[in-house]
Subunit: 94 residues, 2 copies
DNA sequence: GCATCTGCTACGGTTTATGTAGCGATGATA
DNA sequence: TATCATCGCTACATAAACCGTAGCAGATGC
């Protein structure tokens, strides 16, 4: 599964996720990603753009059609994560 | 989404994925993950075990019930990845 | 004893991420 | 025109993560 190469990198999933509600500017995107360093954000954006899941528009960075599909494919993962966070919060903290 | 912290690390997704068909030994798991270095594999396994998605059994490492759920949640991602690999293979190589 | 597995650790070197500072461009205000 | 704020993004030094190889200690078989 080649997508792991793209998504299995720090912040890649997160960046996609933060774009779920519409375009964001570079700086706004940074804020939402726990103030990720601009160096890395720029790298991830470059990769995501190169693979065609993110595009730069007038309003900032946004998901392409392909990116939206990817995000939709991530929905079950989100659902799982919510259950997980709810059921066993202690296991992950100490 | 806190799961990104866990999954947005090198090989984390891949390790889970390789366990989809049943338990694997440490060394076998390594092989399937492009001969990932044992240091990293051990780290990822430790993290995955700590969060309860992977467990060490007699037959090697295997998914827990929680892990299987996670894997199931990853299925749509796999489906997307297959379409993506098929539709635009060039965009990711040049 | 010896060979051959196993899970896993040690270690040195490279790659990747972090954090802060700041550049050049753009737009608003005066 | 000058000033100021904000923008996307880069530079650079430090820290963390990862890689590749070697090899240990335990288990199994001969």
């Amino acid at each position: 599964m080649a997508a792991f190469d793209l998504l299995g990198r720090r912040w890649a999933l997160r960046v996609l996720w933060e774009l779920r509600d519409g375009p964001l500017s570079f700086r706004e995107l940074r804020k939402r990603c726990d103030d990720i360093s601009p160096t890395v954000l720029n790298s991830r954006l470059a990769e995501l753009r190169e693979t065609g899941v993110v595009a730069a528009g007038a309003a900032g960075y946004e998901l392409t059609a392909l990116g939206s599909e990817l995000l939709a494919a991530l929905a079950p993962l989100d659902a799982w994560a919510r259950r997980w966070a709810k059921d066993a919060p202690r296991a992950r903290r100490g």
